[in-house]
């Protein structure tokens, strides 16, 4: 039972000091790398997107890696955040950083609204969220609502553009998402989530309030995506609804998280950096080749390494310990 192993390791082998230090390191390293990186690689917008994707992959990590619910419609929160913050800036002249928070809150509210979807399980939940997000997209982009959302013509936030601040906010969001994931991994809250994922019935028998714990994880994931969408809209300045309600956003976030390994803190970060870099190296000029590669990556991952890069590493270290034990 590898899952029990994992819980044992988190509880026993990690001393209290390490539990405080390792999340700090997991969040600090990307922040420093991003802060320095922009002076070396000057495409700031691309780095902003990468930080946003790290946050999205960690959001997927929190909801899928720890509860087992895979939201194909994750992009819905991204779009809601982008629109909520954009409209807050345009209609009420809210300062952008505050608008980003509003975007997160709006996405969390929509998340609360979609709570009945948790009556579904597995694949039904995945497709249910997809349908819900497509429905939100169809509503927001509907020409009949042009007076409120500008319908299919999108939003223009050029007046609020400020490259440095948007970049900083994106890095902060990535750090927050990483800290949230490491909190979930090492806290009692995370342990209850994993118990729900592995056997929700037994978990509820042991006194875990299953719906409430799941709801918290869902809200955190939704808020992260909402803020990600807000920063995306803000740093992109002009966007159309199909750019923020794009199902390939959830696709990429899911692939990045799975590739690195869900249920870990470093996995989604590393997965995003590696794959997003490849995406920008070949994906922009030849999107089909990139699509082909990541499609194959998914197929091979499911068949041969369902736990991602992190899974490969764990198998290796476990082998090392068994060898050591034999030598004793």
């Amino acid at each position: 039972m590898p899952k029990l192993d994992e819980i044992d390791r988190t509880l026993e082998t990690e001393s209290k000091g390490k539990r405080l230090i390792s999340p700090a390191v997991a969040a600090l390293v990307p922040v420093v790398v991003f802060a320095v990186g922009v002076h070396i690689y000057s495409n700031e917008l691309l780095l902003t997107y990468m930080a946003i994707y790290i946050a999205l992959a960690q959001g997927i990590n929190i909801i899928y890696g720890f509860t087992g619910y895979l939201p194909f419609g994750y992009f819905g929160f991204f779009g809601v955040g982008a629109y909520a913050s954009g409209l807050a800036m345009l209609d009420y002249n809210v300062p952008p950083v505050l608008a980003v928070v509003i975007g997160g809150v709006a996405a969390a509210l929509v998340g609360a609204l979609l709570l009945p979807l948790f009556r579904l399980r597995g694949a039904y939940f995945a497709i249910g969220t997809l349908a819900a997000s497509e429905a939100i997209y169809a509503i927001v982009s509907n020409p009949s609502l042009q007076s409120i959302t500008n319908g299919p013509y999108g939003l223009n936030l050029a007046a609020y553009y400020s490259s440095g601040t948007a970049y900083g906010t994106a890095i902060a969001l990535a750090a927050i998402a990483i800290l949230a994931a490491s909190y979930v991994r090492s806290s009692k809250f995370g342990l209850t989530l994993k118990a729900i994922r592995d056997d929700s019935y037994s978990a509820s028998m042991s006194g875990v309030n299953v719906p409430r714990q799941r709801f918290y994880a869902w809200l955190i994931a939704a808020a992260i995506a909402g803020m990600g969408g807000s920063i995306f809209g803000w740093s992109t300045s002009v966007f159309y609804p199909q750019a923020v309600f794009d199902s390939s956003l959830s696709v990429l976030a899911i692939v990045f998280a799975l590739f690195g390994g869900v249920g870990t803190v470093w996995g989604p970060t590393v997965g995003t950096v590696v794959l997003y870099a490849i995406y920008n190296a070949i994906g922009v000029s030849n999107p089909q080749y990139f699509q082909l590669i990541y499609g194959l990556v998914i197929v091979l991952l499911v068949l041969f390494a369902p736990r991602g890069l992190a899974g490969l590493r764990q198998i290796k270290s476990r082998r090392a310990t068994t060898v050591g034990a034999k030598n004793d």
């Binding site: 895979l70 399980r121 694949a123 039904y124 497709i127 349908a131 169809a138 499609g295 197929v299 499911v302």
Partner: protein, 292 residues
């Protein structure tokens, strides 16, 4: 007047939607595999019809039959390739969802590399062009021609499932693969064949999708998959007749929305899937046992 038009048009169109969804249900059938690449198989069927028409001058009506053996073999091969590993895993249903999602991306990428990104269409005169006139209203030729090709096809499929020896074995494997194997049925082979038939039904729907959707393009897959999924959830997962009825009802809903609230009509499949899942998760014809 408008109302009758919507209902009759909806039924004609609904027969196409029944075929569109039934393949997804068949693939789900024996091994509980959720084929997220369903829409992409439909897309490939469309390109198949296009190539057959322009390279060999074969009528799309004939292509509907030609694509069947090809896709059955393809589906069977794919099933034998992935099913053993997939079914051994901890959560086959969930993993199949992710796996086929990856496959859908691969097919989409290959299709746009091979066929290009632009949509392709078949000329309207490649099938009979006279309009069907019923109660003083004219209905587009693509609707009635597709319906009259698809109806017998669905009939043959039901006869195959309910009246032939392989069909009997298929039903045995669906109800209990282990018991079926004990009774001497080669469950793996039967599951593989049935999986291939699911692909074939999707490809047949693809041939007619070129006319109904007015063309075929590499990126159309995922939206079609969601529509098909909405229909099979509505008509109960695993229930073939339920899917066909649900397809027709979906066609009517869609036509009504097109006629009365055109700008919101693309919401129909999403609303249908969410409403079904929340109100009656077992679907129209389901028994109360599915966990959903």
């Amino acid at each position: 007047m408008l109302f009758e038009y919507a209902i009759i048009g909806g039924i004609l169109l609904g027969i196409f939607y029944a075929l569109l969804a039934v393949g997804l249900n068949v693939v789900y059938g024996a091994q509980k595999i959720i084929n997220l690449a369903h829409g992409d198989i439909i897309m490939l069927g469309g390109y198949g019809a296009w190539e057959l028409y322009y390279t060999y001058h074969i009528s799309p009506i004939l292509s509907t039959i030609i694509v069947i053996p090809i896709t059955v073999v393809l589906g069977y091969g794919l099933n034998r390739l992935i099913a053993p590993r997939l079914l051994k895993s901890a959560d086959p249903e969930m993993l199949s969802l992710i796996l086929f999602f990856g496959l859908s991306e691969v097919i989409e990428a290959l299709a746009s590399l091979v066929f290009g990104n632009a949509a392709r269409a078949l000329p309207v005169n490649s099938i009979p062009t006279s309009r069907l006139v019923l109660f003083g209203q004219g209905y587009s030729a693509t609707w009635w021609v597709s319906a009259s090709v698809i109806l017998p096809l669905l009939g043959i499929f039901l006869v195959f499932l309910n009246r032939t020896s392989i069909g009997l074995q298929v039903r045995a494997v669906i109800s209990d693969a282990v018991e079926a194997a004990v009774a001497g049925i080669n469950a793996k082979r039967i599951s593989g064949i049935y999986f291939g038939i699911g692909f074939a039904l999707a490809a047949c729907a693809g041939v007619w999708g070129v006319f109904i959707y007015g063309g075929v393009s590499p990126t159309e897959g995922p939206a079609i998959t969601v529509t098909a999924f909405a229909i099979i959830v509505f008509g109960s997962l695993g229930n073939t007749v339920g899917t066909i009825v649900a397809g027709v009802i979906f066609g009517i809903f869609y036509q009504l929305a097109q006629v009365y609230i055109p700008s919101w009509s693309n919401l129909v499949p999403y609303v249908l899937v969410i409403a079904t899942m929340l109100v009656r998760p077992q679907g129209l014809f389901g028994r109360r046992q599915r966990i959903a």
